[in-house]
């Protein structure tokens, strides 16, 4: 039994043309027992900045709250919105502070630069090692399955609608092959002028 698979859950983020998408499943379980089907793992950190926190559920909540703390103080002091790349460093720092007693979370960051609207995605491991990519990032109990799905389905320069379809299919089919993931899915498509949140009709098992 691994602590990272105690609660189950997954997050994917994908890069599109002038947009990004981030999606998660909605299951909260305690090993085999599903307890809730509305446990979202994606949190809004800014108008165009989202973070997904799959892993141990208690750490999902705590890390989201502590990140908001740091982000709020940054915004108040600097009087501007935080860039996604900077936010990645904040997450990395927060996680490395607990290097020898870590949070059991492997976060995914997705957002657009507040000024230039340049899309950005990255993932980090539980002790804060950041990895920036220009295609997709995955994290969770079905990560192997998600890697397979993303690798086959993703193409560069997808528009918002195509990106939505791609990320939805990648997530849904990956979590269907994992016992501790699924029970609903939520997708956020982030564009320069709006954020669209859609709940997917998925296999509820």
């Amino acid at each position: 039994m691994s602590i990272m698979s105690y609660n189950g859950g997954d997050v994917i983020a994908m890069m599109g043309k002038n947009c990004v998408a981030i999606a998660c499943d909605r299951r909260f379980g305690i090993q085999a027992q599903t307890v809730s089907t509305d446990f979202d793992k994606i949190f809004e950190m800014g108008p165009k900045l989202f973070v997904g926190l799959p892993g141990l559920a208690t750490d999902t909540q705590t890390v989201a709250q502590r990140l908001k703390f740091r982000l709020n103080l940054y915004t108040l002091r600097e009087n501007r919105a935080m860039k996604p790349k900077t936010f990645m460093s904040v997450v990395s720092n927060l996680l490395y502070e607990k290097r020898f007693g870590p949070y059991f979370i492997e976060p995914v960051v997705a957002g657009l630069d507040p000024k230039t609207n340049e899309p950005f995605i990255c993932s980090l491991d539980l002790i804060g090692c950041p990895m920036v990519t220009d295609d997709f990032v995955v994290s969770g109990t079905a990560s192997e399955q998600m890697y397979g799905m993303c690798e086959s389905l993703w193409q560069p320069d997808l528009g918002p609608d195509d990106l939505f379809e791609t990320i939805s299919q990648a997530l849904m089919n990956a979590v269907d092959r994992d016992a501790t993931s699924g029970w609903g899915a939520k997708v956020y498509v982030i564009e320069a002028d709006k954020v669209t949140i859609k709940t997917l009709k998925a296999r509820m098992d």
Binding site: Q65, R66, K68, F69, N72, L73, L76, R77, N79
Partner: protein
């Protein structure tokens, strides 16, 4: 080593006064004016901007008014560097509360917490008190719109309308006469603020460069803190001057009529 100086800065005088605290308040009495007014549908803070120097590189947005949290903002009068330390501390206090209780800090608690810190500087450590008075405006679900004032002694009070800084006593007596506690909307309160400021400031003509105005209102389920733009402030000033001109013209007419 510091025990030798422990008894210096914050001891009582023979008449039972704390001189350092009083001297701190003196420093504030020479600083730029700030006033706050509560209305039915919001609170406002207005401040005199003193740092208007041609050579100053205007990088920042606001000189005297600081947002503390989603539901609170403050304006400061006194030693700017002391004020920066305190506003930073206020922001940290508010965030820590928010992290622990997952809800915004009630206004009085934030004021009270900082005032306990300010008080410590009047009793322990041999350090001088902070030379800042702060006006806080905020909203919480317990008491609605609130306005607080704190001073270097660590004392605070809740007010309907008040003023700190240069010429504050003149402003307060004007507010005492003109402020109505019932049925005042924010727009009216803003007019009153401009009127009081223009009469109590030492400058001859009020311009948007010399005044900062911020309001706090409720927008559905959340608070909205707006720092007014230069054009909006100028509009208010122009409206006030037009009203004044009209009033004095009418007065002249009446005098003429009564004489003839």
């Amino acid at each position: 080593m510091s025990r030798l100086y422990d008894s210096r800065t914050t001891i009582f005088s023979p008449e039972g006064r704390l001189y350092q605290v009083e001297y701190a308040m003196e420093a504030i009495g020479h600083a730029g004016t700030c006033l706050g007014i509560i209305a039915e549908d919001g609170v406002l803070l207005a401040a005199e901007r003193r740092n208007v120097h041609k050579l100053l590189d205007e990088g920042y947005f606001s000189d005297k008014i600081y947002k503390l949290h989603d539901n609170m903002a403050c304006s400061v009068a006194g030693i700017t560097s002391d004020a920066n330390v305190l506003t930073n501390e206020l922001r940290l206090i508010a965030q820590r509360y928010s992290l622990q209780y997952q809800e915004p800090i009630p206004c009085e608690q934030l004021v009270s917490w900082l005032c306990d810190i300010k008080q410590a500087y009047t009793q322990y450590g041999g350090l001088r008190p902070f030379g800042v008075s702060i006006l806080y405006m905020g909203w919480d679900k317990h008491y609605g719109f609130q306005l607080y004032q704190s001073d270097p002694s660590g004392n605070y009070g809740g007010w309907k309308a008040t003023c700190i800084g240069n010429n504050s006593s003149a402003a307060i007596s004007m507010l005492k006469q003109e402020y109505k506690s019932e049925g005042v909307k924010l727009a009216e309160a803003m007019k009153l603020a401009v009127k009081v400021l223009s009469k109590s400031l030492d400058i001859t003509k009020l311009t948007h460069e010399k005044v900062e105005l911020a309001t706090l209102t409720r927008d559905g389920n959340s608070c909205k803190i707006t720092i007014m733009t230069a054009t909006d402030v100028q509009k208010l000033i122009d409206e006030y001057e037009a009203d004044e001109a009209k009033a004095s013209a009418e007065k002249k007419e009446k005098e003429k009529a009564s004489k003839s």
